[in-house]
C-alpha cells in the first residue's frame, strides 16, 4: 500500500532535467511551485529547496569507499550493482533471496522530498524515489514475534577500497524498531531526481529514515532480518557514548563533541547562515507518537 504519506511538493517541481542541472533555476522553479501549490502545511516548498544533483551526488559519507566526502563519488563506480539481491530472513513467513528486479516489479515507486540531516550537523534536501519499507516487509510476511528490523550493507573488499581499514567493524549494519520500519515515512530509495540512485548514494537500494541522523539510512542493502531483539548498529558499536540506537534528530540533545541545535545547509555557500535544526528533523507531527513517554536524552 504505497502513498501513505504525501509531499506538498510534487515531482513536477524537480524532475525536469534542464532544471535540476542548474540549482539557481531549480530554486526559481521551486519558488514557482509554491505559488501553484498554494497551501502547504508541514513541508512547504520554501523550507524544502532540493539540494542540487551535483551536491547530493558528490558530497557523501560512505566509509566503505573512504572517509573523505568526495571518496564515494570517486570510487563507488567500482561497485557492481547488477545483479543484486536482498536476503530477507529471520522472523518472516517467506524468507529467501529476493532479486532486485523481482522486488521492483512488486513495489510502487513514488517521489519523496525529504530533509536529510547528518549527525555531523550539515543538511540537504533530497528528492528520493523509492517505495515504502512496509510494503517490502509485508511482501515477506512479518511474523508476530518480530520486534526489530536489522539491515546489512554489501561487503566487497575487491570493490570497496575503504574496508581495507578498520574504521568501522565491517559490514556496516543498522537497525530499526519494527514500528519505525513500518512507518509510512520510512522508504527504500532506488532513485534520486527521477534517475537511478548513483552508487555513491547507496545503489541499488538504501534505507531512508528522514527523522533520524543520516547514518541510520543504511546504503546498498544486501540483507534484511526481522528479529526479536534489538540488533547491533555500526556507529553504536564503534562509540556507544556518541551514537545511540535511536539516533533521532534532536536539537536538544547534543553530540558529545558538537552541538546539534543548528546545521549548515549544503549548497548555500561560504557566508550562509546556519539553520536551526528541527525536532525529529521537522517530522515531529508524523513520528513524535512513536517515542511518547521515552526519555530522549537517554534513548538518544
Amino acid at each position: 500500500m504505497a502513498y501513505r504519506w504525501k509531499n506538498d511538493l510534487t515531482d513536477r517541481d524537480v524532475t525536469d532535467e534542464a532544471v535540476y542541472l542548474n540549482r539557481r533555476q531549480l530554486l526559481a522553479g521551486a519558488a514557482a511551485g509554491v505559488g501553484l501549490a498554494g497551501i502547504g502545511s508541514r513541508a512547504t516548498a520554501a523550507e524544502l529547496e532540493p539540494t542540487s544533483w551535483e551536491d547530493v551526488t558528490s558530497y557523501n559519507n560512505y566509509y566503505e569507499f573512504g572517509t573523505g566526502k568526495d571518496d564515494p563519488a570517486k570510487y563507488a563506480h567500482r561497485l557492481t550493482v547488477e545483479p543484486w539481491s536482498v536476503q530477507i530472513d529471520g522472523l518472516v513467513d517467506s524468507p529467501g533471496s529476493y532479486a532486485f528486479e523481482d522486488i521492483m516489479a512488486k513495489m510502487t515507486v513514488e517521489e519523496r522530498i525529504y530533509r536529510f540531516r547528518c549527525v555531523e550537523a550539515w543538511s540537504m534536501v533530497v528528492p528520493w524515489n523509492g517505495f515504502e519499507l512496509a510494503d517490502l516487509l509485508e511482501m515477506a510476511g512479518v511474523q508476530s514475534g518480530a520486534k526489530y528490523v536489522a539491515f546489512e550493507t554489501a561487503l566487497r573488499p575487491d570493490e570497496m577500497p575503504g574496508v581495507a581499514r578498520p574504521v568501522l567493524d565491517w559490514p556496516y549494519v543498522e537497525g530499526l524498531r519494527l514500528d519505525e520500519a513500518m512507518h509510512p515515512l520510512t522508504i527504500m530509495a532506488t532513485g534520486i531526481y527521477g534517475r537511478d540512485i548513483p552508487n555513491q548514494n547507496g545503489a541499488p537500494l538504501r534505507l531512508v529514515v528522514p527523522w533520524k541522523y543520516g547514518f541510520k539510512s543504511i546504503k546498498s542493502i544486501v540483507r534484511i532480518t526481522l528479529t526479536e531483539d534489538e540488533p547491533p548498529t555500526s556507529w553504536n558499536k564503534a562509540n556507544p557514548r556518541e551514537y545511540g540506537f535511536y539516533s533521532n534528530v534532536n536539537p536538544e540533545v547534543d553530540h558529545p563533541r558538537w552541538s546539534q541545535a543548528s546545521e549548515r545547509v549544503i549548497g548555500t555557500g561560504l557566508f550562509a547562515r546556519r539553520q536551526d535544526t528541527l525536532m525529529f528533523n521537522g517530522y515531529a507531527d508524523e513520528v513524535g507518537a512513536l517515542y511518547a513517554g521515552m526519555d530522549l536524552t537517554k534513548n538518544f
Binding site: 558528490s58 572517509t67 550539515w122 578498520p166 558538537w258 552541538s259 549544503i266 561560504l270
Partner: protein, 209 residues
C-alpha cells in the same frame, strides 16, 4: 655533513620572506575558491580543514628544522621563524573560519571551547602558540636570552595538542590524523635523544631514521 655543505651555503643565499608571501597567497587563494564555489558542497568545512591542515604541516616542518640539522647536517635554521609565523597565521585563520563562518555566534563559540574536549584541546594548543608568535622577533630573542629558548619549547606540547585535536575531531579511528599525530610525537621525541659525547666524532654516530 660535508656532503650538504654546498646545499647549506646555497640556502644561505635564499631569503626567508617568500615563505610569508606563499602563506598569504595560499590562504587567499583558498578563500577565493570558497567564495566562488570552488570548494565544493560544504565550503566552510573545507576551508576550515584546509587552513588547519596547513597549520599542522607547518608545525611539522618547523619541528623538522632542528633534527635535520642535528642528524642530517642540513641547515634550515634561517627559515624557522618564517615557518613558525606562517604556521601561527594558518592556525589563526583556521580558528577564525571556525568561529565566524562555521559557528557564527560568540556565545556558541565560548560554549564549544568550554564543553567540547577536541575544541578545548585545539584552543589550548593555540593559546600556547600565542607567546611564541609574539616573541618571534630579534628584539625578544635578545631581551629574553636563554629564557627565549625555554619559552619556545612550548611548541612541543602545542604540536602534540594540535595532533590530538585532529584525531579527536574525526568520526571513528581514521588513519590520516593518527599518522599526523605519530609524526609530531616522533619529532618531539627526537629532542630527547641523548647528545653524543663528542660533537667532532661525526663519522661514528649511530644512524637515526
Amino acid at each position: 655533513m660535508a656532503l650538504l655543505d654546498p646545499v647549506n651555503s646555497a640556502l644561505r643565499r635564499v631569503p626567508a620572506w617568500p615563505v610569508y608571501i606563499c602563506a598569504l597567497l595560499y590562504a587567499g587563494w583558498l578563500f577565493w575558491l570558497g567564495v566562488t564555489g570552488g570548494l565544493g558542497a560544504d565550503p566552510v568545512k573545507k576551508l576550515e580543514h584546509a587552513y588547519g591542515e596547513a597549520g599542522l604541516y607547518l608545525l611539522i616542518a618547523g619541528l623538522c628544522v632542528t633534527p635535520l640539522r642535528r642528524f642530517a647536517g642540513l641547515n634550515l635554521m634561517k627559515f624557522r621563524r618564517a615557518i613558525g609565523l606562517a604556521c601561527f597565521f594558518f592556525i589563526t585563520v583556521h580558528l577564525l573560519t571556525w568561529a565566524v563562518l562555521d559557528v557564527q555566534r560568540l556565545d556558541r563559540v565560548w560554549a564549544d571551547i568550554v564543553k567540547r574536549p577536541y575544541i578545548t584541546v585545539g584552543m589550548a594548543g593555540f593559546v600556547l602558540l600565542l607567546p611564541l608568535a609574539v616573541t618571534s622577533n630579534n628584539w625578544s630573542v635578545r631581551r629574553l636570552g636563554p629564557l627565549w629558548t625555554k619559552l619556545h619549547k612550548l611548541v612541543y606540547p602545542a604540536a602534540i595538542l594540535g595532533g590530538v585535536h585532529y584525531v579527536m575531531l574525526v568520526k571513528g579511528w581514521q588513519v590520516r590524523p593518527l599518522v599526523f599525530l605519530a609524526i609530531v610525537v616522533f619529532l618531539v621525541a627526537l629532542r630527547y635523544v641523548p647528545r653524543r659525547r663528542s660533537r667532532q666524532a661525526g663519522t661514528t654516530r649511530v644512524a637515526r631514521p
